[in-house]
Symmetry: C2
């Protein structure tokens, strides 16, 4: 409850903060002979090439009446010309004149400079983190995380640490596992990375527009010729229920089969319910279970196998 209140306060704080930032950026526009609305309308027309009044109104959140008058003014300044629509003669076609194109380019340049001014005081790492944060906010708030490209790819520098970080935090939040777990998976990833290339191994990161949505890897099972082990399957909570886990497991199974493995095993805990469904879906069967106390919790470990 209190968390909720704090969260809302933090969001409002950010809104006030960013309102000011946007205000600062827009102040720069006042050195032109155009008002802010005019600039926004010109930018929108320029971006779309040609558009209509009602589109502008809805896109920029302005009143149709206001758009109408504003366009008149821009026509008078020779920045814009309006022709009746071809197919629908209620709708008029709004385009930039040659002069309007120039203005558009100029305004765009000024906006670039203003945005540049935000980035300028930051070093490379700061810029990168700023942009990642912005991208994340847009993704979270646009509320449609389903569309967009999801790619399975190898891990990059720093991502073993990232995967360790995320899983440690998640399983601590969800199941209370302690730092013993974090140390264990740090070692598991280190072992993966330093293992010899021959019996084949592979790790996949599910990459959603630069953000890590999940991961898994396959290594040769210790001391069992011809057997591959599936390890460290995880999907970010925000990306669950979209089949990413199944995609990762399928990819791993295909890899193991192609690499010549004849069996596949994995170890998991029975509290990881949704993971179990994925393993079942991929054809794994439960071999045996074993109670143990690890990561500060009483667990029921499960060994699953799959014949390839």
């Amino acid at each position: 409850m209190n968390d909720q209140t704090n969260d809302v306060a933090a969001v409002r704080r950010f809104n006030r903060f960013y309102t000011r930032i946007i205000g600062l950026l827009e102040d720069g526009m006042h050195r032109t002979r155009f008002t802010l609305s005019e600039a926004r309308v010109l930018h929108e027309i320029g971006k779309r090439g040609a558009t209509s009044g009602s589109e502008l109104a809805s896109e920029l959140g302005m009143d149709r009446a206001q758009v109408s008058r504003l366009l008149m003014r821009l026509v008078g300044q020779d920045q814009v010309y309006i022709t009746p629509g071809n197919d629908d003669r209620r709708r008029s076609r709004v385009c930039l004149t040659a002069e309007g194109e120039e203005t558009y380019a100029h305004l765009s340049l000024m906006s670039d400079e203003a945005a540049s001014g935000l980035l300028e005081p930051l070093d490379r790492s700061g810029r990168h983190r700023l942009l990642q944060a912005m991208k994340l906010i847009m993704r979270l708030l646009s509320g449609s995380p389903e569309k967009g490209p999801l790619a399975l790819r190898p891990h990059r520098i720093g991502e073993l640490g990232w995967l360790t970080h995320r899983q440690a935090v998640l399983y601590n939040q969800e199941y209370g596992w302690n730092s013993e777990f974090e140390a264990l998976i740090a070692r598991i990833y280190a072992d993966y990375e330093t293992a010899p290339a021959d019996p084949p191994r592979s790790l996949w990161v599910a990459d959603f527009d630069g953000e890590i949505a999940g991961s898994v890897f396959v290594v040769p099972a210790a001391g069992e010729e011809g057997t591959a082990q599936l390890r460290m399957l995880y999907v970010e909570p925000g990306f669950r229920g979209k089949g990413i886990g199944a995609m990762l497991v399928d990819q791993a199974v295909v890899f193991a089969r192609n690499a010549g493995y004849r069996h596949m095993i994995l170890w998991t805990q029975d509290c990881l319910v949704s993971a179990r469904r994925i393993y079942q879906g991929a054809g794994f069967v439960l071999a045996h279970e074993e109670k143990h106390h690890s990561f500060g919790a009483d667990l029921n470990g499960q060994y699953w196998t799959l014949e390839l």
Copy 2:
């Protein structure tokens, strides 16, 4: 250069995006009998308890003239009363009336609901990431990372992974070190975490308002009774040059001395110039050097010692 252009475009994209978000939130205000400016002014007065016209103007980025007239209107509506200032009689004191307080509470509630509406579709992890991203953006763009509390504290769940992640990325960017390095430090952190509590060891995270600015740890040196080893000193680029590295090393030295260690050693690479200065400043002396090829680079390893 192209990166730069992309970055600017991304910032502008976010600005447009968030302009719309703010617009949506503000739309809710129109169900009240107050205009947006009035609501903002009331909110600002309510937040501050009492204020002056010029403060409002500068805080909200409005014209003094406009604030003046707006306040007149609010006085007419019995939301606000104005008394001449006590110490400075140019400055007037602007306060909310009882009715104004009510309005303030009501508007505040509406804003809370609007902000709540942003959070509502998100799950816990999504909310957390949204808020972290917002905090990060505020910190990066407010451009004053110097003020604020810096604390040295133990690590929390997930932070071993985070430290691995950050250092792998940083040293890759700065020196081209490959994932061999990431695997090594993942193992080093895992070893730290699973080491026995007796001979004493400790890890500190430099925490700046919830963000990790740097870290270091002390462990007993392998096979050398009475000797402590300083390991994994690092400071985030954005926080460098503020003495955080020295603070971490000092803390580590004090800890080692109090824990009864008589010597302290560390291993570093000569390319890490600023770290070297910190070690020298703390009294470490260079014992010997040794060339080696690690992490995909030709390195010159240095062993430093300190008598406690």
